[in-house]
Symmetry: C2
Subunit: 116 residues, 2 copies
């Protein structure tokens, strides 16, 4: 028997979500890898995420729009699009497509490269 | 002008690779996120990766087979398939499809969760 088996990021996608679904895929002291699934969910208009950790995030299915505080225009995220959200860079999910599940892969981490 | 722009993981895929192409997408003291592109490349039959860091890796395009030391059968990786390779778990890429570019997203990190 193998101790190494793979799982699929696009398996077991719920079709009837009332809230965003968060699944932790891997975790260590300094990093957390999550799958996020949304179906038309977005942040409340008055809500901003303000996170302690940096977040590198990619959309792998579906579509979304991310708005950063003090920006006029949202960033449209199509499959393959990725963006780095520095810690405490306030942002919100302005829109996700209601037509299908939007699958995000997010890597949260706490320390920036000391050389940068 | 926005200071937040996205990039696409599937953009600028080279079509004529002689070696695997590695691009660092984000990096900190404890984590490194890389895009890996292979077109038919695999490890030499006698070569094993033996890494200091844990590697969480997902195939997002193409196909590959990963072989772990002391396993009879490789793990087939199709788009969406992901696997955690613990540090020093010896492995090699037995095969990637020659028909198209295989795009991997890999997250390398140095510390395991102390609770596990």
């Amino acid at each position: 028997m193998s101790d190494q088996t793979s799982q699929n990021l696009f398996a077991n996608l719920p079709t009837d979500l009332t809230d965003e679904l968060v699944s932790v895929l891997a975790e260590s002291a300094h990093v957390r890898i999550e799958r996020l699934v949304s179906t038309g969910q977005c942040s409340e208009p008055v809500f901003w995420y303000d996170q302690e950790e940096h977040e590198w995030v990619i959309v792998l299915k579906g579509q979304a729009r991310l708005l950063f505080e003090n920006e006029d225009d949202p960033v449209t995220m199509l499959p393959g699009d990725h963006v780095l959200i520095p810690a405490h860079r306030r942002h919100r999910v302005e829109w996700t497509t209601p037509d299908e599940s939007t699958v995000w892969l997010a890597v949260f981490y706490s320390n920036r490269d000391p050389q940068k």
